[in-house]
């Protein structure tokens, strides 16, 4: 494959010296707009271990992208870097052109990144509605005194927030369960609630960590529809980590493959499927030859 062909496919071999601009793949409708997220040579070391190294990624404003790789490749670590749960030791994250270097996790969320977790992290002892209301925390504007004295601003903001919470819940067919405790929901519903809560923070980029984990095929199919629906309704970018290849190959426009903390391939589903380094990473060298 010639260099130009590779570039058109968005596929790049492991080579940190290549300038960022040439490596990114974004859907055509987003090409003229500024990217929502740019990771430039992002990396983190824990002691001597380089968990992620020279990670470059650019996401279009309404792109659905996938991050795949074998277990322990560093996918969740990248999510933790993006949301500043870990401080990157190298590189830069630009969110909508803004450097997130000095932001905390909460500030990154307010700047526009919302996420879900691989092992669901809901507020189990609170109701389904309250979980979404907590997501709407920063959308309300009354102060502590306003809340204690129940000034008019409190009632106004609470009413709007409650209606909005119900809208988010309805989107995920959870409105029937609004008053139940989040911990009592079945597994699939908990995953949907976590997405609803993340969306309530009004993000411009949604990070989904294994959203289909533990779901049966029909639930996965519904989830795929939902993810596309979220993108089309809210016009946001979605980056997801997933092991379910049917989901990734069907809905992700761009796919990045990670192995041992390094990006080994980027491109659309077709290119990734045929990439020998990817096949090797998943199946080993022998599998790649066959």
């Amino acid at each position: 494959m010639s260099e130009s062909k590779k570039r058109r496919a968005g596929l790049e071999s492991v080579s940190p010296v290549v300038p960022v601009q040439t490596t990114y793949y974004v859907p055509e409708r987003d090409v003229d707009k500024s990217p929502i997220l740019q990771c430039i040579n992002l990396g983190i070391s824990f002691g001597g271990l380089k968990a992620v190294e020279d990670f470059n990624l650019t996401l279009g404003r309404t792109e659905i992208a996938g991050l795949i790789g074998p277990n322990g490749a560093g996918k969740t670590t990248i999510f933790n870097l993006l949301t500043k749960v870990y401080q990157p030791t190298h590189g830069t994250i630009l969110l909508d052109g803004r450097d997130t270097a000095n932001m905390t996790t909460a500030q990154v969320n307010r700047a526009g990144i919302a996420r879900t977790f691989q092992n669901i992290r809901l507020f189990h002892n609170q109701t389904v509605a309250d979980n979404v209301l907590i997501g709407l925390h920063n959308e309300m504007d009354y102060g502590m005194l306003g809340g204690i004295l129940r000034l008019p601003g409190y009632w106004r903001a609470e009413k709007i927030a409650r209606n909005r919470a119900m809208e988010y819940l309805a989107l995920f067919h959870l409105d029937q369960h609004a008053d139940e405790l989040a911990g009592s929901l079945p597994y699939g519903a908990q995953r949907r609630l976590e997405i609803a809560r993340a969306l309530a923070t009004n993000p411009s980029l949604l990070l989904l960590d294994e959203p289909a984990a533990g779901m049966n095929p029909s639930e996965t199919a519904e989830l795929m529809e939902n993810i596309v629906k979220i993108r089309d309704t809210f016009h946001i970018a979605i980056l997801l980590i997933e092991h379910d290849m049917s989901l990734v190959m069907n809905i992700c426009e761009g796919i990045a493959v990670l192995n041992f903390g390094r990006l080994i391939a980027k491109g659309n589903a077709e290119a990734i499927r045929n990439d020998p380094t990817v096949v090797e990473a998943y199946l080993g060298r022998k599998g790649a030859k066959e």
């Binding site: 749960v85 969320n109 919302a114 507020f123 907590i134 925390h137 309300m140 204690i148 129940r150 609470e158």
Partner: protein
């Protein structure tokens, strides 16, 4: 549907207010008819103080989910700053209720400031470590107040910090007509007792409004989110430290107000009164009443505060029986079979009520 739950919560809050008001009216009526003896009326103000202490500690332990073992420290800050305020302004403000109100406000403010300063290092910790550090701070506050010698005369307030133990109240060099307010380890002496049951009742109501409305606001939800899952709270844009501090400082300031009322209820009060035991006593009220359960804290405080007095007839075995009652109550309230039984009773009761409501 969501609103229904909301009204249910609001009804629970209103029931708490109603319960406290009714209790106040009944006790006031009994008191004015002379149906309470001296030792019984003497318990009223301390009970009010401890109810406020328990409700405010519930904010830290139940709502925020951080075990604090230094709550009595904030109470003592409020008590002594309140006593200094009330005694220092005796000639300026003749009205006792005004001085009492001002003392409680000053007590709350001082405790809030101390709470903030203590909170800066403490809230960086979690779990057991946090509990032990709050315990240490509680003791530090007690020791610092033990060093305090304060007096007032026509020139104003005189304060000596008696660190090496060599100074006495005479070193204040008060003018004629001056008054010693705090005498080091002896604590506040000769305080005019201006605390009243009505003031205690008002303080309880204010505390309930603050805590219950806070819990049902976005700030309260944020505090509970931090308790339930810190990482998730962070990920939805809630600054964890800010809300921990908000709960901690609110809790400390309410304890300070309760302390001021408590301090002005006794003519003599030493700092040693606010030791580890007092913190634990309040914690027992909170745990027994149920973590996060405001109404439970009130009931548990009333019962457990009266119990040792009611058991005076058993003389030497009094505290033994008290301890056994504590153990039995803790075991039964945590028994899953009994819990389920009460839950089923509650749901039956709730359902029949809802049916009535829909029928009417």
């Amino acid at each position: 549907m969501n609103m229904k739950r909301y009204f249910k919560d609001a009804r629970a809050d209103l029931l708490t207010y109603a319960g406290v008001i009714i209790a106040f009216l009944v006790i006031s009526a009994l008191k004015s008819n002379g149906m309470l003896n001296r030792s019984q009326t003497g318990l009223l103000v301390p009970i009010c103080c401890y109810i406020v202490m328990a409700v405010s500690l519930n904010l830290t332990v139940g709502i925020l989910g951080d075990l604090s073992l230094g709550h009595a420290g904030f109470m003592s800050v409020g008590a002594f700053s309140g006593v200094i305020t009330a005694m220092g302004l005796m000639n300026v403000i003749p009205s006792a209720p005004m001085r009492l109100a001002l003392a409680m406000v000053v007590g709350a403010l001082c405790a809030a400031i101390v709470g903030f300063l203590v909170g800066i290092p403490v809230l960086r910790l979690n779990g057991d470590y946090l509990a032990i550090v709050t315990l240490a701070f509680g003791e530090i506050i007690k020791e610092l107040i033990t060093c305090l010698i304060v007096g007032v005369d026509s020139k104003g307030l005189h304060v000596i910090f008696n660190v090496n133990g060599s100074k006495t109240a005479n070193d204040l060099t008060l003018l004629d007509g001056g008054r010693i307010i705090i005498k080091g380890a002896q604590g506040a002496t000769g305080t005019k007792t201006i605390a009243t049951f009505t003031a205690g009742f008002i303080l309880i109501m204010i505390t309930l409004v603050i805590v219950q409305n806070l819990v049902r606001s976005r700030h309260g939800r944020a505090i509970m989110a931090v308790r339930d899952n810190r990482i998730a709270a962070d990920s939805v844009g809630i600054p964890v430290t800010k809300y921990k501090m908000m709960a901690f400082v609110t809790s400390a300031s309410l304890a300070g107000a309760a302390g001021a009322l408590f301090g002005l209820n006794y003519s003599n009060l030493a700092a040693a009164k606010f030791d580890f035991n007092t913190s634990i006593l309040v914690l027992v009220f909170v745990v027994l009443g149920g973590l996060g359960n405001i109404w439970g804290s009130i009931i548990a405080t009333v019962i457990l505060y009266i119990l040792p007095e009611a058991l005076r007839g058993f003389s030497t075995y009094r505290m033994l029986i008290y301890a056994i009652v504590l153990i039995v109550v803790m075991l039964t309230t945590n028994n899953p079979i009994l819990k389920n039984y009460f839950a089923s009773l509650r749901s039956k009761f709730g359902k029949s009520r809802e049916k009535e409501a829909s029928a009417s």
